[in-house]
Subunit: 193 residues, 2 copies
């Protein structure tokens, strides 16, 4: 197990390449993709998204203090990539990508109808870090596509075809290795074989 | 595309079930697993990890202001799960799980030798949020397992067998769907078919 030592670099993976939707004061909407995003608190439910100040959505979200996190599926992977490389200053991404602009319940930012899970968020704090500003936000509403509810009413998120981002690549998710707590449910739990 | 509207819940996935290693003032080490973790800034390279105050590592990291993020592979999935459900107050996880306690370069917290990528981190700020405290940290050193360097010297992180966490399940990563920018490199880039 020989190791190499490197200068600090962005190597924490897999991360979620989520599509962030927002709308400005005139109702003009945009979508940007961010992979520096995640849950930061279970209760209250809070998330963070890091956004470069030069991005078009940065100004909108800083002013409106609202956005929606839309989870990315394999079907949405190409659209998600496009929303990560093209600016809303130049193109109307909802229109160009034929995405459904779904009104949200608790925020003015629209949701993306094709996403299996949309998290409506209200910004609580913005921390300037360097290349990115950290938007700390409260999730105020969740909407899900009924298509993924099974006969028992359980939401089968593992069947939604979510996408992970690893060091420049979009990857599908593979097989289930276990569920939380599986290491101690087995007879010789926790011991590596 | 009928939707259901839910109260706020933790639905931002996939996230990285990383193993966080630390050591107290007497050199006693521990490993905890956290899925509320991610990159928050590209330059300087910064990460965040959310930790419940009642966890054993919370006290250690709050005092020492150092930890290491170790990426989890399929081979480490059972150990990672164990480190998420058992407390270091009761067990020596490095010993019990036969994990290699690798000295780190820039922090006193040890790295996990079996992890393909270890990020040595120094805490810059702790934000109290609710159930979790958000540890905002600077990555000060990266170490990687040479095994994943290909003949051109490129680090093939996609071959390391990383694990994703989705709503209570550990999943392997699947096939590559594209690389960053693929939607605009194609002839009909960005347009959904």
């Amino acid at each position: 197990m020989a190791r190499q030592y490197w200068r600090p670099s962005n190597m924490l993976y897999p991360v979620p390449p989520v599509m962030i939707s927002c709308a400005d004061e005139d109702g003009k909407s945009n979508i940007m993709t961010a992979a520096w995003a995640g849950t930061i608190c279970s209760d209250p439910v809070m998330v963070s998204v890091s956004i470069r100040p030069e991005r078009y959505s940065h100004g909108i979200i800083s002013r409106t203090r609202e956005f929606v996190i839309n989870l990315t599926t394999q079907e949405l992977a190409r659209a998600a990539d496009f929303c990560g490389v093209r600016s809303g200053r130049e193109v109307d991404k909802f229109a160009l990508l034929h995405l459904t602009k779904l009104p949200s319940r608790r925020v003015k930012a629209p949701s993306i109808g094709e996403s299996p899970v949309c998290l409506e968020c209200v910004v609580e704090k913005i921390e300037k870090l360097g290349t990115h500003d950290l938007f700390i936000a409260r999730v105020v509403q969740v909407s899900v596509d009924e298509r993924y509810l099974d006969e028992k009413g359980r939401f089968a998120l593992e069947d939604a075809g979510l996408v992970a981002y690893v060091h420049g690549a979009y990857l599908s998710l593979g097989k289930k290795l276990g569920t939380f707590g599986f290491s101690v449910r087995k007879k010789r739990g926790g011991r590596k074989k």
